[in-house]
Amino acid sequence: MNVNRWLGLLIGLLAGMFLCCAGTAVILSLGGTSSSVPALSVVPSNATLDVAIDEAYLSRTLAQNAKGFPSPWPVLGGRMNIEPGNQATFDVLVDGLLGRMTVAGRLTFGVAQGRLLIHIAEVKLGAIPVTGLMNMFVPGLETQIVEKANQQLQERTAGAGVTLLGVTTDEQFLRFYFTGQ
């Protein structure tokens, strides 16, 4: 067999693999973030009421309400881990294109003008980061999550007449700070 043919085959093979990897990398990095990252909030000095929610409860809620969770793939279950620095990591079991898969990610929290902001900082499908891909194919997911969270917060605090001032996290609790109106 001609050496040129083998050389052509090899170059083609390498070029194909490179094209596929580069294409995937471009797709994964596209899409950017759909909203600005919430600023890290500190404990507001004028807060008169604070509510700390345990991560175990958040995990239970996520597991129990998995079916209604806004997601491109049906969510079967999950858990949350609150971490210092206004962030939480999550692992959810989804019924994806390639079967049951674990999607892991990181959320950051903030407050602006009395509204809770939740930013999807990172999403990984196994070892592959798919944050950009998710923002490209499921635009508005973050907005949907923020709207749902604020609607629930509004419903639950309407009677108490309070305004949300800030949110912080530690190893275990997600803390909301309020002041009376």
């Binding site: 604070d50 129990q64 639950r156």
Partner: protein, 191 residues
Amino acid sequence: MQSSYRSADRTPIGFGCGGCGCGVLLAALALAVLVMATASTSVALPAVKSDPARPDIVITVQDAFIKQTIVRSVPGDALKDVTVKLQAGGVIAIQGRVEKTLLGQTLSAPFSLAMRLAAQNGRLRVDVSEVQVADNQAVSAALQGIFEGLGDQASQMINQELAAGLGSDAYIMDVTTDDRRVIVRARWTGP
């Protein structure tokens, strides 16, 4: 002759294109294997354990918020210059001035009362005791009515707000106080 030369000349390009296709397929397969290997879970996520001794939610209320709530809970803006002092054992000592207009005349007198907060059967109970209004018996009798049923009203109002905020399946575990704060620990008993 020329045709055979062209064919031989094109063959490496054809092999290159074929190789390129194979390369794309191989890389796609490798990526799919990588995703499957790292993301597919043969083991389900571990169930979240619920510890009944551990609260799901801790509500910390500052004395300033309590003062605001007490002033708001009495209709007609009747309480003035209210001061709130928190004591151990869930006791809130409240002092201030009460005003009421009767037959066009405004009666005003100092008052003091103590409220005790406690968790009872998963609900927050408020008992009002030691209500003192004015030194003058007539004024006291006229103004005392403002505080009648205040404990029940406060219990009802606080529990309604807690139920709205936490849901009807919230169970108040305990209430503690220090000199600046009331701390309510609760958990959800729902499924």
